[in-house]
Symmetry: C2
Amino acid sequence: MSGALKDAAIRVERPAKTLRELALDKVREAIVNGYFRPGDRLVERDMCAQLGVSRTIVREVLRHLESEGLVANLPNKGPIVAQLDLDEAKQIYEIRGVLEGMAARLCAQRGSPEIVTALETSLQGIRDSYRDKDMPGVLSHTSSFYQTLFTMVDRHVAWGVVNLLTVRINHLRSMTIKTKNRDIEGPRQMAKIVDAIRNGDGEGAYKAAMDHVAAASAIAEAVLSAKDSAE
Amino acid sequence: MSGALKDAAIRVERPAKTLRELALDKVREAIVNGYFRPGDRLVERDMCAQLGVSRTIVREVLRHLESEGLVANLPNKGPIVAQLDLDEAKQIYEIRGVLEGMAARLCAQRGSPEIVTALETSLQGIRDSYRDKDMPGVLSHTSSFYQTLFTMVDRHVAWGVVNLLTVRINHLRSMTIKTKNRDIEGPRQMAKIVDAIRNGDGEGAYKAAMDHVAAASAIAEAVLSAKDSAE
DNA sequence: AATCGTATTATGGCGTACCACACACTATCA
DNA sequence: TGATAGTGTGTGGTACGCCATAATACGATT
């Protein structure tokens, strides 16, 4: 028995990730942070060269991203980076609203101090990042705030859904957080969520989470319609 | 010109779907209706033979189903049909509850008679199928009931999410609908949703939809824990 | 005979080459 | 000038081959 344990302890940590997973992450990253722009064609053989992998891998990666909604396939034309229209974005925000509201209510009902502590840590991270004008930091701390909200009450499936939807609006997110006053209003709204959770106020937490997403949605709508009329 | 038209007239109608999509549907079908059982290994080369397509296609299909959550990949072992545990099933029902509740509320607020008519048609289809002991019919009419709920208020994204989650619990669904009294209780609960929508009672519709899913979840839990203890 | 090492097999991961087809563009010729 | 035939680009799909790993079977050694 102790031998087995020892073996486990010594075990060399292999990368474990397959080439395909690495490529998948790279391409998703590239789409999410704007290296590939919406509407760009994703030519298989070009991507083989850029990624340094075979077409087999590229094709599987493209299929995967297609099912995530990040890539669209034009018949007889091939894959492009999916375009996001206003209506779809609003729907995504709406869904996030109800799911995050649900998670917030569950957190409040759970009433565990660790949740509050973890949320406050993330929230402080957001404030610090805003102060340092570190926008990627804002996004990642915001993500971890919501991740806490879901995983602390063991809602991994819902968190997966939210994540899936969020990547599709990622470039919107990076625009909304740069909006005027968002550095004050955003954290203030999230603090209201935390307060309600601390007080065990389920309905208050639900409403605060919904409000926060609604605000983000409104900003996104303004940003997106402004961009549309500019083009 | 007339020559071109003539050519167009005799043009052979090829299926618009690619081979890959056909294979994807076939395999998903096979998993959903139990031809492949949870835990079964999905050996690539065997599937090539069974489907009559190349390994490339099979691999892309497996990747796609993996991202849908129907297939799991064991490291150094390969793909298997995903197992569903009780906790995950409960989470899926919970998410469906909030999303279907949301859609029901929106339908009630919209207050359009066509929605009520369409829902009643589906509901009658369910009742007829129950009467004829046509269980696949029950499932498909139930699906179209919810599809109406979502698409009549243009919530295609949410409908997509619900669909994605539903395939993962499909074999549970086919067990819950066979439960005692479900042929009476199920349609009764759905009728309550329709009634609330007809009366423009948003909160009532929300609650009725939540109740219906909650009932299904409870039955699924009973079924699943009974099966676990039996094995 | 029990055990330990080794060969074999099954299978996935990955790469390459190839053909067919659709589409867009272009140059050419009447 | 305008139709037409080429030409290039790119995906859909297939076949084959190689390598790494895990499991199993088999055989040798003590």
